[in-house]
């Protein structure tokens, strides 16, 4: 132990204080640990040493000259001085040069108040300027992209932004052009800098050069009320700070949490919160189109539900939730349906998945510490952007290897040491093949013809998994077809049994709280915490004797039963089945047949238009509670904005009260406490424990279904693969969104051979038809997937791609018409 300490850490003296830090720590960071401030501009802990601003000059004993603290790794026995006369003179000199041409427009500048240049000038700078001439004038506010404005006059050429673009984003989109006085941050040919993560440069800019166009001049930083909250878009649940003023969202900035987001957020988090002030929000409960009071609406819902249950039995009512709800809201809803209405007709998804994992649930940080990442059917760039950054970091800076198994080309392919593309819809066969390969057996002979991946390649994947010390499997259950998720879990179980390898997995479904929704038991066949229906005693002990034990209807079955008239009432919570469910166009017809349709949502959706009763849901920014991210980390989402409407769980508890529930939780923390008590895996989740960085929940019981091979699919045409798009034109990002410039046209991606077969060329306007529906799209011959499949990115709600998919079928066949 002692020797390990000697080799891993170094001890040095800074201004007379002794500091012990890990080896490789820069002096500037070592000083921070003992509250000694060495001023910096260009240095950023995530970007590494650079040393171009010269602000952090320090004196080190036995070194002849001053040296930059940000490029100097702490050494054993080093004696550092940061406050000598020489250092102070150097700091003043450097600041004088930095401020030489810096405009004195602090009162107008958006950075004013939180500007490192301002702060450092106050603390370390010269009292006056000796500049007697006119300052060098450059372009003021110029758009760098539709959402970022650059003020080149204020730039001090620290190159944080260009290094961010190079090191973190791996795009090299931003560069320093020209030299000397003409030196400027720019993109190639001045194209707009519109990547998925561009907004982070605003946060890391140490001056007001890069500013948020939306926030520009709308409030001073000290006027904002900053709330530490979580992003409510993808399932990474990045930490962010919501800046509000006068109860209006003003801006979103990063709140570094190395365990989740590593200090970055994507552009959807930064500019995707316009919905908090959208006109399209549901702000009032409605009954048959008429505004009513919330109590009246809840009473009406409860009375109607009760009437229907009495007349047709508990199986005639159902609940379709979604992963957009908080744990507390989803928990309350499933409790309402199970204990107050006595039905298991509860679901939140249209794909197959089961809660729990047969192996360890890895957190996001494990991606970096693994030896091998296996990415299955997941496209983090579009689905979980911060996972994308984390993977890039692991691949390029942490020496982690990656294997990609996907049916479509993704931007992750170029970082993978092995990237295999299987045929669309053949994931079940592929994973079964991988399972046999992991077991050391030879694969079936028709593997290559079905999946497009040879057994040798799968053998190579299996070998890599076996030879790696720590393997992190990231899979997207939404993109897996049929019941292949069960095969995948068997694969994981097999891999988990390997003697030499530690295997963990991360279910990377893109919806905000998809893991939480599974854990909270918003499922027809599993109680919260992965409690299977077969475990009747445990269920009765926790949920009372009346808790239903027969399997309920899944979301798709509910729609089916609604169509046939067997299901009479449905509550839809934060979900839009008319657009997002397979055969969406038929879902609307089915919902119209219901006696009672209650939609509890944040935005006006196509489904809400059909509802008899509409309840308002508060949504991110307004709501408070916990979410569970893909790494199983439970974090606290707090509210930055207030509304008169009760919280979602409160509305549920009001309905439950009308249905005879005697006890009601006092506040949201009472619900969290109840979850801790009732849900396996959440025992340790307390508000105080998760407030800062969140806390990993314990493993929930793994309730795996039987592996059933869907076999080979037969049909005519091409197999549809719907791809998720980050900036999709939906209810959250509407036409007035700041990110409207990121919306893509409807495109269909074909393989060259298929394009020839259908006689279409690149750029042709075609109609993709299937399931009695058609979608207009422009042809891209991109070889994005293997022959026999086509990729259709879901770019907007209006596009209606989900109508092409057939409900209940593993794969959907489509054809192309000009």
């Amino acid at each position: 132990m002692n020797t390990a300490t000697q080799t891993d850490t170094v001890t040095l003296t800074i201004d007379g204080k002794t500091v012990t830090v890990p080896k490789g720590t820069m002096v500037v960071d070592a000083a921070k640990t003992v509250d000694i401030e060495i001023p910096v501009f260009c240095y950023h802990e995530k970007l590494g040493p650079f040393g171009c601003c010269r602000m952090c000059l320090i004196e080190v004993e036995k070194m002849p000259k001053m040296i930059t603290a940000c490029t100097l790794a702490a050494g054993e026995g080093m004696v550092v001085k940061t406050t000598t006369e020489k250092v102070e003179k150097a700091q003043k000199g450097v600041l004088e040069f930095t401020l030489l041409n810096h405009p004195l427009d602090c009162p107008v500048c958006d950075k004013g108040g939180e500007c490192p240049l301002q702060d450092n000038t106050f603390k370390f700078g010269p009292p006056d300027t000796r500049m007697e001439y006119n300052r060098f004038n450059r372009e003021k506010a110029t758009p760098l992209s539709p959402v970022i404005t650059i003020d080149r006059e204020r730039c001090i050429a620290c190159q944080r932004c260009t290094r961010y673009s190079d090191i973190i984003e791996k795009d090299q989109a931003l560069v320093m052009r020209n030299r000397g006085f003409q030196n400027r941050v720019s993109t190639f040919k001045d194209q707009p800098y519109d990547t998925r993560f561009s907004g982070n440069v605003i946060d890391i800019c140490p001056v007001g050069a890069l500013t948020n166009t939306d926030f520009r001049f709308t409030a001073r930083t000290w006027d904002l009320t900053n709330t530490n909250t979580l992003c409510g878009h993808c399932a990474c649940n990045c930490n962010m700070t919501l800046g509000t003023r006068l109860n209006e969202m003003k801006r979103v900035t990063t709140r570094p949490n190395d365990l989740v987001d590593d200090g970055w957020i994507c552009d959807k988090a930064r500019w995707g919160y316009d919905f908090t002030k959208s006109k399209n929000r549901i702000t009032q409960p409605r009954k048959q189109g008429q505004s009513v009071g919330i109590q009246e609406a809840c009473t009406e819902v409860a009375a109607s539900l009760q009437k229907i249950v009495e007349a047709h039995g508990p199986s005639s009512v159902g609940f379709i939730g979604s992963g957009y709800g908080l744990n507390e809201d989803l928990y309350s809803y499933q409790k309402l349906f199970r204990t107050n209405l006595g039905t298991n007709n509860i679901d939140h998804k249209t794909y197959t998945d089961t809660p729990g994992l047969p192996v360890a649930h890895f957190d996001l940080l494990d991606v970096e510490t693994s030896d091998l990442v296996v990415l299955i059917a997941s496209d983090p760039t579009e689905e979980l952007p911060i996972l994308d950054l984390r993977l890039k970091k692991a691949m390029t800076r942490k020496g982690v290897q990656m294997i990609v198994l996907n049916d479509q080309q993704t931007l992750m392919d170029k970082y993978a040491s092995l990237s295999l593309r299987y045929n669309v819809g053949s994931d079940g066969v592929l994973l079964a093949g991988l399972n046999t390969a992991l077991q050391g057996q030879s694969a079936e002979s028709d593997l290559e013809s079905t999946t497009g991946v040879s057994s040798n390649q799968l053998q190579a994947v299996a070998e890599k998994i076996k030879s790696a010390g720590k393997v992190c499997v990231i899979y997207n259950p939404v993109a897996l077809t049929g019941s292949s998720i069960h095969t995948l879990k068997q694969c994981l179980a097999t891999a988990g049994g390997l003697a030499e390898t530690t295997v963990g997995a991360m279910p990377a479904a893109p919806v905000t709280n998809s893991v939480g929704a599974m854990d909270m038991g918003v499922l027809p066949d599993v109680y919260p915490g992965g409690l299977a229906l077969t475990d009747g005693d445990a269920i009765k002990a926790k949920w009372g004797d009346t808790a239903p034990l027969e399997k309920g209807l899944s979301a798709l079955e509910m729609i089916e039963k609604a169509k046939s008239g067997e299901l009479k009432a449905l509550i839809v919570y934060r979900s839009n089945p008319v657009v997002d469910f397979p055969s969406g166009h038929e879902v609307g017809e089915a919902l119209k047949k219901l006696d009672l349709l209650v939609v509890h949502d944040m935005m006006e959706t196509e489904t809400a238009k059909l509802a008899q009763i509409v309840l308002p849901s508060n949504g991110p920014g307004f709501d408070e509670g916990t979410t569970t991210n893909i790494g199983g980390r439970v974090q606290l989402r707090t509210k930055g904005l207030t509304t008169d409407n009760p919280a979602d769980w409160k509305i549920v508890s009001m309905i439950a009260k009308e249905l005879g529930q005697e006890t009601a939780p006092k506040d949201v923390h009472a619900v969290t406490a109840e979850i801790a008590e009732k849900v396996t895996g959440y025992q340790e989740i307390k508000r105080s424990a998760i407030r800062k960085q969140g806390k990993n929940r314990e493993a929930v019981a793994s309730a795996n279904g039987a592996s059933a091979s869907d076999g080979t699919h037969t049909g005519s045409g091409l197999i549809l693969r719907v791809a998720d798009v980050l900036f999709s034109h939906d209810k959250i990002l509407d036409a007035e969104s700041n990110l409207a410039h990121q919306f893509q046209p409807s495109t269909v991606h074909l393989h060259t051979s298929d394009a020839e077969q259908f006689g279409v060329k690149e750029g042709d306007e075609v109609r993709v038809t299937g399931n009695g529906h058609e979608v207009k799209a422009e042809v891209r011959i991109s070889n994005r997937c293997n022959p026999g499949g086509l990729v259709l990115p879901k770019v907007s709600d209006e596009q209606g791609v989900m109508s092409l998919a057939e409900a209940g079928k593993a794969v959907s066949w489509v054809t192309i018409r000009k």
């Binding site: 427009d105 009162p107 107008v108 004013g112 506010a141 001049f217 409030a219 001073r220 000290w222």
Partner: protein
């Protein structure tokens, strides 16, 4: 006894002397409100927002007055200037500028903080009114000439401003 009377009369005359002297001097009081007091130039009375030579608002909406205000009586909401039709000279202007004159302690810190000499406290001291609402001075109340102001209280009319020089 006589001595005491003389001394008393003397003291009376001395005492009354002050009275007689002041009877002949100019009175320090005056007929307010018919007559108004001329306040010192640096008197910190009611606030105004200045305009520049071109008639643009000087205020650039930086909120420094607001953050500097010890009683938090200034409310600023800024917005970006339209370059073709600017309200102020900078890139930003104050869309909303309100001072709660009842909460204000007339310390002049806002004037001190203002980087563009936009907000000033002037000699106007007659601030009495019957309605609390009129004490929220908005931009229309605060902006001085050359544009025609619509003041909710006629502050400029009821105070005589004279240069003392």
């Amino acid at each position: 006894m006589i001595q005491a009377v003389i001394k008393g009369a003397y003291n009376l005359l001395v005492g009354m002397g002050v009275t007689f002297k002041n009877m002949l001097s100019k009175p320090v009081t005056f007929q307010y409100p018919e007559q108004k007091r001329v306040m010192p130039e640096r008197y910190r009375g009611r606030h105004f927002l200045n305009r520049d030579e071109e008639g643009l608002e000087k205020c650039i909406g930086c909120s420094l007055c607001s953050i500097n205000c010890p009683v938090n009586c200034i409310h600023v909401v800024s917005a970006e200037n339209d370059p073709n039709n600017p309200v102020s000279k900078g890139e930003r202007y104050a869309e909303v500028y309100e001072i709660n004159l009842l909460r204000c302690i007339y310390c002049g810190y806002c004037e001190e903080a203002c980087p563009v000499d936009a907000v000033v406290l002037r000699e106007h001291y007659e601030l009495a009114d019957y309605d609390r609402k009129t004490y929220i001075a908005t931009k229309g109340d605060l902006l001085v000439y050359p544009e025609p102001n619509v003041f909710s209280v006629n502050f400029l009319g009821n105070t005589e401003i004279t240069n003392k020089k």
